[in-house]
Structure formats: structure tokens, C-alpha cells
Amino acid sequence: MDWAYFLQQLINGLTLGAIYGLIAIGYTMVYGIIGMINFAHGEIYMLGAFHSLITFLICQAAGISGILPLTLLLMLFVSMVLTSIYGWGVERVAYRPLRGSFRLAALISAIGMSIFLQNFVQISQGARVKPMQPLVEGGITLMESANFDVQLSYMQIVIIVLTFVLMVVFSLLIAKTSLGRAQRACEQDRTMAGLLGVNVDRTISTTFVMGAALASVAGMMVTLYYGVIDFYIGFLAGVKAFTAAVLGGIGSLPGAMLGGLLIGLIEAFWSGYLTIEYKDVATFGILVLVLIFRPWGLLGKPEVEKV
């Protein structure tokens, strides 16, 4: 066995998994609080990628793209803020009016929202693939073997570290702040939380906004990492991230991250050792297997069916 190759796939898989994990958190938080799949979440991630790309182009036009840390911070900030508003808008338009209605209605309106956002970006920004020049170049050579050098690029370090930091920040946010307490309260019993003075509407809005902010970071990292984006990237990434959320146990934050990492690793190893064409099939296959044998996921709690 070629350990160098294995190590390289491991690094790639972890990077990819970090990105999936960030998107998956949005799914898991929304599902936790309103018990519904946010179908437009993939498009939010796509919008994050576009916002960061355009921010970069504006920086370039303004002549400050030479100062790398400033550019990256600006991209992160602008993309998080603007994309969050889209997350807020999705909740406000497609979910809030239908909250009391039956479940399928909200799902369908979210699918409509997803189609709308996709075509909105396609029309306003064009259908062609948008290239992005690499900003963070170079890397560390971890291991040199006869025919293969194991590379850990600086970009990969940035992605993994940033994901880790965001994970810690959001876990603390949910565990320690009053906002997090309100969220956990709404998750357990929305009516009761409302009776006890929690602003349920605002809490749900905030959940969507937080999910969108994390997805926008994922979108920005994909823009920097792969260097190409288009209006269609949201769909597949969204489905895979949802798979990750289910795999980790929907409703559980660490579960989403773990699921994301696992999906990333599976995809990297599958395309590294088996066929690259069928890597999506592998992901969905895993999803089916998990749902059959452990529907509550790796870290989730099994749901008790009540009459």
C-alpha cells in the first residue's frame, strides 16, 4: 500500500469534509428547530460563493487585492453578511407564512425558492463557469516518496483551521449564550418556549441566519479552493451536506461536522482508489445504508414514536 497516496487522499478528504460539514450545520440547526429540511440551503451556499467572488473582484478593482489578509477578511465579512440576509429572506418568504400549515407545503415552497434563487443568479450573473485566480498559493511538502510528494497546501490549512474555529465559536454560542438557550428551548418545545417569553419568530430567523453565514463561509472556501464556481454548485453540495447531517445524526451539531468529514473522506478515497465517476453514487449509497440501519445517525438520539 502506498502510504503517501493514502495520506494525500486523507488530507484532501478532510478539506472537502470541512466544507460539507459547514453546510451540514445549517441543515441540522434548521431541522432541529423547525423539523424541516431547508431545501434552499444549497443555493444559500452558492450565493455565498458568488458574494465572495464579487467582493474579491471589487477589491481587485479598488487595487487592494495585493494586501492578502485584508482581502480575505473583507471577502469573509461581506459574504457572510450579505448571504445571511438571503437566509433570513428564505425563512421570511418560504417558511414563516407556512409554519402552521402542513409539512409538504413548506417543503414545496422551499423547492420553489431554490429554483428561483438558482435562476436568479443564472440570469443576473450568467450561466458560464466563473474562474477565480488562486489567492493562497504554495504549501508544505509533508512527505516525499519515490514517485509522489504529499502536499498540504496553505489553502487547505486555512480551510481546516477556519472550520475548526467556527465550529468552536458556534458550539459556544449555542451552549453558553442566551440566544443559544432560546434556540435549544425552541427545539424542545416551541409553544412552551413562546409562553415563557422566548421570541420564537426571532429565534427561528436567527437560526436560518446562522446557518446561512456558515454556508457562505463554505461557499467562499470552495471559491478559493477549486477556483471555479457556477450557479449550479448549490444542488449537489446541498444534497451531500444533507447526507452528512443525516449521517451524523440530524439535530446534532458535532454530528453534522463528523458526518461532513466522513462524507468528504469517503468521497476522496472513493475517487482516489475506485472510480471517480461514481463518487456521488457512493455518497448516496452510504446515505441509504445509514438510514436503513441507523436512521438516527451516528451521534443522534433515536426518536420515540408517540401516538
Binding site: 407556512l98 407545503a105 423547492i111 420553489g112 450568467g126 456521488d280 438510514l291
Partner: protein, 506 residues
């Protein structure tokens, strides 16, 4: 009522604040995606600024929000009058357009007519003003009560619909049967009707799964694809005729339904939705990558067109040993014959789907589906096997998807994985849910709204899907239970209770 209402009325400064808030939101949402365009240049991406679009976005958001505030404050007369005016203009536009439907690419007729000359502009403005005035003054200021009344009106429509379902269905069937005689010479009308009919059939097929059995299937297009590819492959590799392949395609699709359904049907609703979505994608990925069998992304072309029940052929040059359709009936050759035949074929297939569904609803298995949809635990305690019951719904729904797929393949003569994307599944599901789950006539209505109207506005090609997406959201907000919400059980213990339950369900 009015005094209680007055106290909730917002004052002017609050309205301004609210409008300002939404203006800022619109600005932030549009400033980059709309305001800055990324242009491809040989040197890389460049930016082009489009402030006008941002202004339009902000303007329309503020106006829309203002309309909503007016409505909330009980001053809905202006909003309604505006809506009626816009609808009148749109209906007029559609009326003019329908007279010559082949000219789909023309720009909006109304605009051309209105701004053609000074006189016509004056006339157009006067027309709009008169419609607005009539609409405004013919309505009473109703305030908050208005909401109740519109609900009452819609339940009245429901009642009329319910008591006349059979008649409405019959009129619909007769209309669809004589349709080719009305538009016989209009190629695009027949094409469009055939397309709508395909979706009606798919909607009816999916209705068994979603509407009757209550299983959320987001990958229905997979069965459609299985049906289409099984016909295409059987006809190309084994030279089997369409009439032999049609049942085979249904059987293949149904077996795929069973294979997929068996492991996953124990899952709860949302999980089932995602698994079926995944399955739909798997089928598509396999179709793209299994180049030797399916031709990959290139698809399969020159698929055999159907013959007239194996008796006669529709092509101009008839192959050796078969008869031309036009000769068989002693008519002149016309390329329309095949189109009209295809139309009747899909009409027949769709009606079979409908008939079978209606019969199944009255059989024990149909009753079990509906019972399962309402309460799974109760069903289990009464001895219904949920997995087998769901599996039968899944397989029968899949079978009709397979039939529709075989028809699609023979109509197009060309299939590729591109025709079987998730979007198709979403469209079919949207038709079922918009129609009102379980309602057969609702599916027809929704298919016409969702497929027919967008096809008519082809000139808006690139905006079509945008409007489609927004339309789904709007219809869902307007009628969350579908255009014809019709989800009460087929049978109740005491039939006289039916109306009462229907009233409560509303």
C-alpha cells in the same frame, strides 16, 4: 369589529420605518448579485456596474411591501383594484396572443399596441384608468372582514366542486377528446397539449404515492427514466415494437420501485424524501457513466416511433411490408396524423392511470393507503402491514411512471440523462401538491398552470424558470393545501359526516 381593528392600525412613522427596513434589506440583497455583473474577458473576469437594477429591486420591494401594509391595515381596495387591473391587462395580452399561438417569440403585444402612437398611448392609459376605477368603486370597503369573506368564497367554490366532481371530470375528458378537432391544424397546440398530458399522467401516477399513500417521493423521475430507457434499449437491441415494450417498461419501472422501496419504506417522511432524491440522482449518474449501454450523456437517438397498433405506419415513406396510415383510412398523407395519434395515445394512457387509481381507491388496498397516510400507528395496530402496503403504492406509482417514460421516449425519438434531472421530479411533485394532494382534477389544473402557461410564454425563455420558482412559492403561500384541497378520506364511517369534516379541514 371596526373599533377593535382601528386600535391595531399602524401610524405613519411606523410604516415609514418598516418600508425603510425593507428598502435596506433589498439594497443589501441586490447590491452585489444584481448590482455588479461579472463579465468574461480574455484577461479574466471584469466587473460591470448596473445600479438601475438595484434601484428597480429596491423600488419594487418598497411598493410590494406598501401593498402588503395597505392590505394588513384593511385598505385593501386599492391593492385589489390594482391587481384586477393588472390581471385584466394580462388576460387581454393572452387573448391577443392565443389567436396566433405559433408566433411565440413576439414581444408583449400590449406594450407594442400601447406605445405605438400618441393616440394609442392615451387610449391605453384611459383603458387602464377605467378598469381601475370600475374595480375600485365596485368593491365595498371591507376591512378586516374581507379575509373571512374570501375564505368563505373559496369554500363555496370547493363545495360546488365537490358536489359536481363527476360532471367536471366528464366535461374535462370530453374537452380533451375533442381538443384535436378544435386545434387540429395547429402543430404547436397539439404538441403543447401532449406535453401537458404527459405531466398529467405523471402527476396522477405520483398522486398514488404522495396523495393516497402519503409517501413523499422526490425521485419519481427515476421511474420515468427507467421506463424511457427500457423502451429505447429494448427497441434498439432486440427490435421489439412499442406495443410490446410498453407493458415491459411498466414492469421494469415497478420492479425498480420494489427494489428501492423494500429497504427504505420503513423510514419516516423526510428521510424517505431524501433517499428517493438520492435514488433519482443515482439513476441519472449511472445513465451518464454507463456509456456502453446507455450512450452516456449523448443519450439514445433515432428511437423507433410507434405504429398504428402494429397495423399501419405514420411515416411518409413506408418501409417494405407495412401499410401507411393514410392509405389504411384512405386519407391524404399529413404529418399531423402522427402527432394527433400520439396525443390520443397519451390521453388514453393518462385516462387508464386515472381509472385505475379511482378503482384502487375503492379496493381494500386503496383504503389501506389512505388509512396509512392518516395514522400509521393505528394501521399497524389494526393489522395492516405498513411496509407491504406502502410498497404496493410505490410499485404501482412507479409502473405508471414507466409507461409515461416509454411514451416520452417514443414521442421524442431521442432521450438523454438531461431529461431526467431532479428538477423534473420537483415539477411533478409540485403539480401533485399544487393540485391538492389526492385530487385527480387538481392535478389536471396544476399541470395546465405549471406546464401549459410557461410553455406559452416561451419568449420569456430565460425568465421562465425564475417565474416558475417564484410561482410555486406564491401558490403555496396563497393556497398551502393546493388549488383544490381535497384530502378527506374516500369513505367515512358515517357518510353524512363527510361535509362536516370537509368544512373543518378547509
Amino acid at each position: 369589529m371596526s373599533s377593535a381593528f382601528a386600535s391595531t392600525r399602524t401610524n405613519g412613522s411606523e410604516v415609514v420605518k418598516e418600508l425603510a427596513f425593507f428598502a435596506v434589506v433589498a439594497l443589501l440583497m441586490s447590491v452585489m448579485i444584481l448590482g455588479v455583473e461579472t463579465v468574461d474577458r480574455p484577461t479574466g473576469l471584469e466587473l460591470a456596474v448596473r445600479w438601475d437594477l438595484v434601484l428597480i429591486a429596491i423600488g419594487s420591494t418598497v411598493v410590494g411591501r406598501f401593498a402588503l401594509i395597505m392590505r394588513r391595515e384593511g385598505m385593501s381596495r386599492i391593492v385589489q383594484a390594482l391587481l384586477i387591473t393588472v390581471t385584466a391587462v394580462a388576460v387581454f395580452e393572452m387573448f391577443v396572443r392565443f389567436r396566433d399561438m405559433d408566433d411565440r417569440w413576439a414581444s408583449p403585444v400590449v406594450l407594442d399596441m400601447a406605445f405605438g402612437s400618441v393616440l394609442s398611448t392615451v387610449v391605453a392609459i384611459a383603458f387602464v384608468a377605467i378598469v381601475f376605477a370600475i374595480a375600485y368603486f365596485s368593491m365595498k370597503e371591507k376591512g378586516a372582514v374581507e379575509v373571512d369573506e374570501s375564505a368563505k368564497l373559496s369554500s363555496k367554490i370547493q363545495l360546488v366542486y365537490r358536489s359536481n366532481t363527476k360532471k367536471i371530470g366528464l366535461v374535462g375528458i370530453i374537452f380533451f377528446i375533442i381538443f384535436p378537432f378544435l386545434f387540429g391544424e395547429n402543430r404547436s397546440a397539439i404538441d403543447l397539449a401532449t406535453l401537458v398530458m404527459i405531466y398529467i399522467m405523471l402527476g396522477w401516477g405520483l398522486n398514488i404515492v404522495v396523495g393516497l399513500a402519503g409517501l413523499l417521493d422526490l425521485g419519481y423521475v427515476a421511474f420515468y427514466a427507467v421506463g424511457a430507457y427500457s423502451y429505447a434499449l429494448l427497441s434498439q437491441n432486440f427490435d421489439l415494437s412499442f406495443w410490446l415494450c410498453l407493458p415491459l417498461a411498466g414492469i421494469f419501472a415497478a420492479s425498480f420501485g420494489i427494489i428501492l422501496g423494500f429497504p427504505v419504506l420503513r423510514l419516516r417522511g423526510d428521510y424517505l424524501a431524501i433517499v428517493t432524491l438520492g435514488f433519482g440522482e443515482i439513476i441519472r449518474v449511472v445513465l451518464i457513466n454507463w456509456y456502453d449501454l446507455t450512450g452516456g450523456p449523448d443519450g439514445i437517438s433515432s428511437i423507433e416511433r410507434p405504429s398504428f397498433f402494429g397495423l399501419a405506419d405514420f411515416s411518409r415513406r413506408v418501409p417494405e411490408g407495412s401499410v401507411a396510415f393514410s392509405d389504411l383510412f384512405g386519407m391524404d398523407y399529413s404529418s399531423m396524423h402522427r402527432l394527433i395519434f400520439l396525443y390520443y395515445l397519451i390521453l388514453a394512457l393518462a385516462l387508464v392511470t386515472n381509472f385505475v387509481t379511482m378503482r384502487l381507491r375503492k379496493l381494500p388496498i386503496g383504503r389501506a393507503w389512505e388509512a396509512l397516510r392518516e395514522d400509521e400507528i393505528a394501521c399497524r395496530s389494526l393489522g395492516i402491514n405498513p411496509t407491504n402496503t406502502k410498497l404496493s403504492a410505490f410499485a404501482i406509482g412507479a409502473m405508471f411512471g414507466g409507461f409515461a417514460g416509454a411514451f416520452f421516449a417514443t414521442r421524442q425519438g431521442f432521450i438523454s440523462p438531461e431529461s431526467f434531472t431532479f428538477l423534473e421530479s420537483a415539477v411533478i411533485l409540485a403539480i401533485v401538491v399544487l393540485g391538492g394532494m389526492g385530487s385527480q382534477i387538481g392535478v389536471v389544473l396544476a399541470a395546465i398552470v405549471m406546464i401549459g402557461f410557461p410553455e406559452m410564454f416561451r419568449e420569456l425563455a430565460e425568465y421562465r424558470m425564475l417565474i416558475f420558482g417564484a410561482g410555486i412559492v406564491a401558490i403555496m403561500l396563497w393556497r398551502p393545501r393546493g388549488l383544490l384541497s381535497f384530502r378527506d378520506p374516500t369513505i367515512l364511517l358515517n357518510m353524512s359526516q363527510k361535509e362536516k369534516v370537509a368544512g373543518e379541514l378547509k
